[in-house]
Amino acid sequence: MMINVEQQDEISIISLSGRLDGTTMGEVEQRFLELLGQGMKQFVFDMSELEYISSAGLRVMLLSVKKTRAIAGKIALCKLNANVQEVFQISGFSTIFEIFPAREEALQFIRA
Protein backbone atom coordinates (compact mmCIF):
# COMPACT_ATOMS: atom_id res chain seq x y z
CA MET A 1 0.00 0.00 0.00
CA MET A 2 1.36 3.41 -0.98
CA ILE A 3 -0.11 6.60 0.38
CA ASN A 4 0.92 9.88 -1.18
CA VAL A 5 -0.35 13.20 0.14
CA GLU A 6 -0.09 16.52 -1.68
CA GLN A 7 -1.54 19.87 -0.73
CA GLN A 8 -3.35 22.11 -3.17
CA ASP A 9 -4.35 25.28 -1.35
CA GLU A 10 -6.39 24.04 1.60
CA ILE A 11 -7.12 20.67 0.02
CA SER A 12 -5.26 17.49 0.92
CA ILE A 13 -5.09 15.11 -2.03
CA ILE A 14 -4.54 11.59 -0.76
CA SER A 15 -3.50 9.16 -3.51
CA LEU A 16 -3.86 5.50 -2.60
CA SER A 17 -2.14 2.80 -4.55
CA GLY A 18 -2.19 -0.97 -4.17
CA ARG A 19 -4.56 -2.80 -1.85
CA LEU A 20 -6.72 -1.36 0.90
CA ASP A 21 -7.53 -4.42 3.01
CA GLY A 22 -7.43 -5.76 6.55
CA THR A 23 -3.64 -5.64 6.61
CA THR A 24 -3.22 -2.07 5.26
CA MET A 25 -6.27 -0.19 6.59
CA GLY A 26 -4.36 0.92 9.69
CA GLU A 27 -1.79 2.88 7.63
CA VAL A 28 -4.47 4.85 5.79
CA GLU A 29 -6.42 5.51 8.97
CA GLN A 30 -3.30 6.77 10.73
CA ARG A 31 -2.31 9.05 7.82
CA PHE A 32 -5.82 10.48 7.58
CA LEU A 33 -6.03 11.13 11.33
CA GLU A 34 -2.65 12.90 11.18
CA LEU A 35 -3.95 15.29 8.51
CA LEU A 36 -7.09 15.88 10.52
CA GLY A 37 -4.94 16.56 13.57
CA GLN A 38 -3.01 19.17 11.56
CA GLY A 39 -6.28 21.03 11.01
CA MET A 40 -7.03 19.83 7.47
CA LYS A 41 -10.72 19.85 6.59
CA GLN A 42 -10.85 19.26 2.83
CA PHE A 43 -9.91 15.94 1.27
CA VAL A 44 -9.77 14.35 -2.15
CA PHE A 45 -8.96 10.66 -2.31
CA ASP A 46 -7.43 9.82 -5.69
CA MET A 47 -8.09 6.09 -6.15
CA SER A 48 -6.70 5.69 -9.68
CA GLU A 49 -3.94 3.35 -8.51
CA LEU A 50 -6.08 1.53 -5.96
CA GLU A 51 -6.43 -2.03 -7.20
CA TYR A 52 -8.57 -3.54 -4.46
CA ILE A 53 -10.73 -2.63 -1.49
CA SER A 54 -12.43 -4.92 1.04
CA SER A 55 -14.88 -4.17 3.86
CA ALA A 56 -11.87 -3.39 6.09
CA GLY A 57 -10.95 -0.66 3.60
CA LEU A 58 -14.54 0.58 3.52
CA ARG A 59 -14.33 0.94 7.29
CA VAL A 60 -11.52 3.51 6.92
CA MET A 61 -13.41 5.35 4.19
CA LEU A 62 -16.52 5.54 6.40
CA LEU A 63 -14.42 6.83 9.27
CA SER A 64 -12.96 9.51 6.97
CA VAL A 65 -16.33 10.77 5.77
CA LYS A 66 -17.84 10.75 9.27
CA LYS A 67 -14.90 12.63 10.79
CA THR A 68 -14.77 15.17 7.95
CA ARG A 69 -18.49 15.94 8.06
CA ALA A 70 -18.38 16.21 11.85
CA ILE A 71 -16.04 19.21 11.50
CA ALA A 72 -18.05 20.68 8.58
CA GLY A 73 -15.29 19.73 6.13
CA LYS A 74 -15.61 18.33 2.62
CA ILE A 75 -14.54 15.07 1.08
CA ALA A 76 -14.60 13.68 -2.45
CA LEU A 77 -13.26 10.62 -4.25
CA CYS A 78 -12.04 10.33 -7.82
CA LYS A 79 -10.91 7.82 -10.43
CA LEU A 80 -12.20 4.56 -8.95
CA ASN A 81 -11.38 1.48 -11.02
CA ALA A 82 -14.17 -0.93 -12.01
CA ASN A 83 -13.51 -3.37 -9.18
CA VAL A 84 -13.42 -0.70 -6.47
CA GLN A 85 -16.48 0.97 -7.99
CA GLU A 86 -18.40 -2.33 -7.81
CA VAL A 87 -17.62 -2.71 -4.10
CA PHE A 88 -18.77 0.88 -3.49
CA GLN A 89 -22.00 0.23 -5.38
CA ILE A 90 -22.90 -3.04 -3.62
CA SER A 91 -22.19 -1.58 -0.20
CA GLY A 92 -24.16 1.61 -0.88
CA PHE A 93 -21.01 3.70 -0.43
CA SER A 94 -21.47 5.23 -3.89
CA THR A 95 -24.38 7.24 -2.45
CA ILE A 96 -22.47 8.22 0.71
CA PHE A 97 -19.54 9.75 -1.18
CA GLU A 98 -19.25 12.34 -3.90
CA ILE A 99 -17.39 10.39 -6.59
CA PHE A 100 -15.91 11.93 -9.75
CA PRO A 101 -14.23 10.45 -12.82
CA ALA A 102 -11.48 13.09 -12.84
CA ARG A 103 -9.38 14.67 -10.11
CA GLU A 104 -10.09 18.19 -11.37
CA GLU A 105 -13.86 17.67 -10.96
CA ALA A 106 -13.36 16.47 -7.41
CA LEU A 107 -11.27 19.57 -6.66
CA GLN A 108 -13.95 21.82 -8.18
CA PHE A 109 -16.60 20.21 -5.98
CA ILE A 110 -14.48 20.84 -2.87
CA ARG A 111 -13.80 24.47 -3.83
CA ALA A 112 -17.45 25.21 -4.65
Binding site: S55, R69, S91
Partner: protein, 145 residues
Protein backbone atom coordinates in the same frame (compact mmCIF):
# COMPACT_ATOMS: atom_id res chain seq x y z
CA UNK B 1 -15.00 -33.75 -16.07
CA UNK B 2 -11.96 -31.60 -15.63
CA UNK B 3 -11.55 -30.41 -12.10
CA UNK B 4 -8.53 -28.53 -10.89
CA UNK B 5 -7.94 -27.90 -7.23
CA UNK B 6 -5.68 -26.02 -4.89
CA UNK B 7 -5.57 -26.82 -1.18
CA UNK B 8 -3.94 -24.82 1.54
CA UNK B 9 -4.07 -24.82 5.33
CA UNK B 10 -3.09 -21.65 7.15
CA UNK B 11 -3.11 -20.64 10.77
CA UNK B 12 -5.70 -18.09 11.81
CA UNK B 13 -3.49 -15.06 11.83
CA UNK B 14 -4.22 -11.97 9.80
CA UNK B 15 -0.66 -12.07 8.50
CA UNK B 16 -1.51 -15.29 6.68
CA UNK B 17 -4.09 -13.52 4.58
CA UNK B 18 -1.32 -12.52 2.16
CA UNK B 19 -0.35 -16.16 1.77
CA UNK B 20 -3.93 -17.14 1.00
CA UNK B 21 -4.51 -14.37 -1.51
CA UNK B 22 -1.37 -15.36 -3.39
CA UNK B 23 -2.77 -18.89 -3.71
CA UNK B 24 -5.93 -17.47 -5.21
CA UNK B 25 -3.95 -15.33 -7.65
CA UNK B 26 -1.83 -18.32 -8.68
CA UNK B 27 -4.88 -20.54 -9.18
CA UNK B 28 -6.67 -17.91 -11.27
CA UNK B 29 -3.58 -17.39 -13.35
CA UNK B 30 -3.30 -21.13 -14.07
CA UNK B 31 -6.99 -21.38 -14.96
CA UNK B 32 -6.87 -18.20 -17.05
CA UNK B 33 -9.53 -16.60 -14.91
CA UNK B 34 -9.85 -12.86 -15.48
CA UNK B 35 -8.28 -10.29 -13.19
CA UNK B 36 -11.76 -8.93 -12.44
CA UNK B 37 -13.04 -12.29 -11.14
CA UNK B 38 -9.77 -12.96 -9.34
CA UNK B 39 -10.15 -9.72 -7.36
CA UNK B 40 -13.75 -10.64 -6.51
CA UNK B 41 -12.64 -14.06 -5.26
CA UNK B 42 -9.90 -12.49 -3.16
CA UNK B 43 -12.42 -10.09 -1.67
CA UNK B 44 -14.87 -12.86 -0.80
CA UNK B 45 -12.10 -14.95 0.77
CA UNK B 46 -10.69 -12.03 2.76
CA UNK B 47 -14.12 -11.29 4.20
CA UNK B 48 -14.63 -14.85 5.38
CA UNK B 49 -11.02 -15.30 6.53
CA UNK B 50 -11.22 -12.18 8.72
CA UNK B 51 -14.63 -13.23 9.93
CA UNK B 52 -13.32 -16.61 11.08
CA UNK B 53 -10.61 -14.85 13.07
CA UNK B 54 -12.64 -12.00 14.57
CA UNK B 55 -15.97 -13.78 15.16
CA UNK B 56 -14.43 -17.18 15.73
CA UNK B 57 -10.95 -17.86 17.00
CA UNK B 58 -10.41 -14.54 18.79
CA UNK B 59 -13.47 -15.24 20.95
CA UNK B 60 -12.04 -18.54 22.17
CA UNK B 61 -9.58 -18.80 25.03
CA UNK B 62 -6.30 -20.48 24.09
CA UNK B 63 -7.07 -23.63 26.16
CA UNK B 64 -10.35 -24.15 24.39
CA UNK B 65 -8.82 -24.11 20.95
CA UNK B 66 -8.31 -27.61 19.63
CA UNK B 67 -6.96 -26.12 16.44
CA UNK B 68 -6.71 -22.62 15.08
CA UNK B 69 -6.21 -23.69 11.50
CA UNK B 70 -8.22 -22.70 8.48
CA UNK B 71 -8.50 -25.15 5.60
CA UNK B 72 -9.07 -23.63 2.21
CA UNK B 73 -9.74 -25.15 -1.16
CA UNK B 74 -10.40 -23.55 -4.52
CA UNK B 75 -11.50 -25.61 -7.50
CA UNK B 76 -12.76 -25.05 -11.00
CA UNK B 77 -15.18 -27.42 -12.67
CA UNK B 78 -14.97 -26.90 -16.41
CA UNK B 79 -18.17 -28.87 -17.16
CA UNK B 80 -20.27 -26.52 -15.09
CA UNK B 81 -17.90 -23.62 -15.69
CA UNK B 82 -18.05 -22.96 -11.98
CA UNK B 83 -15.59 -22.07 -9.25
CA UNK B 84 -16.01 -23.53 -5.77
CA UNK B 85 -14.32 -22.09 -2.71
CA UNK B 86 -14.49 -24.28 0.36
CA UNK B 87 -13.48 -23.17 3.88
CA UNK B 88 -13.34 -25.33 7.02
CA UNK B 89 -12.50 -23.94 10.45
CA UNK B 90 -12.71 -25.12 14.08
CA UNK B 91 -14.07 -21.91 15.60
CA UNK B 92 -17.48 -21.73 17.35
CA UNK B 93 -20.53 -22.10 15.11
CA UNK B 94 -21.18 -19.08 12.94
CA UNK B 95 -23.66 -19.22 10.09
CA UNK B 96 -23.07 -16.24 7.77
CA UNK B 97 -26.28 -16.95 5.89
CA UNK B 98 -28.36 -16.18 8.99
CA UNK B 99 -26.78 -12.80 9.60
CA UNK B 100 -28.94 -9.75 9.23
CA UNK B 101 -28.57 -7.89 5.95
CA UNK B 102 -27.20 -4.39 6.54
CA UNK B 103 -29.25 -1.45 5.32
CA UNK B 104 -27.03 -0.10 2.54
CA UNK B 105 -29.32 2.87 1.87
CA UNK B 106 -28.50 4.70 5.10
CA UNK B 107 -26.53 7.96 5.17
CA UNK B 108 -22.90 8.10 6.34
CA UNK B 109 -23.96 9.37 9.76
CA UNK B 110 -26.35 6.44 10.28
CA UNK B 111 -24.09 3.79 8.80
CA UNK B 112 -22.32 1.14 10.81
CA UNK B 113 -19.70 -0.93 9.13
CA UNK B 114 -20.69 -4.26 10.71
CA UNK B 115 -22.07 -6.97 8.46
CA UNK B 116 -20.78 -5.47 5.23
CA UNK B 117 -18.16 -8.14 4.65
CA UNK B 118 -20.66 -11.01 4.75
CA UNK B 119 -23.05 -9.00 2.61
CA UNK B 120 -20.36 -8.38 -0.05
CA UNK B 121 -19.53 -12.08 0.03
CA UNK B 122 -23.13 -13.11 -0.64
CA UNK B 123 -23.64 -10.47 -3.33
CA UNK B 124 -20.50 -11.38 -5.28
CA UNK B 125 -21.05 -15.15 -5.25
CA UNK B 126 -23.87 -17.05 -6.96
CA UNK B 127 -24.52 -19.51 -4.15
CA UNK B 128 -23.32 -19.99 -0.56
CA UNK B 129 -23.95 -23.00 1.70
CA UNK B 130 -23.11 -23.39 5.37
CA UNK B 131 -23.02 -26.52 7.51
CA UNK B 132 -21.85 -27.25 11.04
CA UNK B 133 -20.28 -30.71 10.97
CA UNK B 134 -18.28 -32.31 13.80
CA UNK B 135 -17.58 -29.02 15.59
CA UNK B 136 -16.41 -27.39 12.36
CA UNK B 137 -17.80 -24.61 10.18
CA UNK B 138 -18.05 -25.64 6.53
CA UNK B 139 -18.67 -22.82 4.08
CA UNK B 140 -18.96 -23.40 0.35
CA UNK B 141 -19.06 -20.49 -2.05
CA UNK B 142 -19.90 -20.97 -5.73
CA UNK B 143 -19.35 -18.66 -8.65
CA UNK B 144 -20.49 -19.37 -12.19
CA UNK B 145 -18.17 -18.03 -14.82
Amino acid sequence: MIMRRHFVTVSSDLLHWNQLRQHIALFCDEQQISQEVMLQLQLVCEEWFINIITHGYQKLSKEKQSSSEIHFQISYNSDDDEILIYFIDYAPAFDPLRQETPNVALSAEEREIGGLGIYLMKELMDCCTYQRIDECNHLKLYKRM
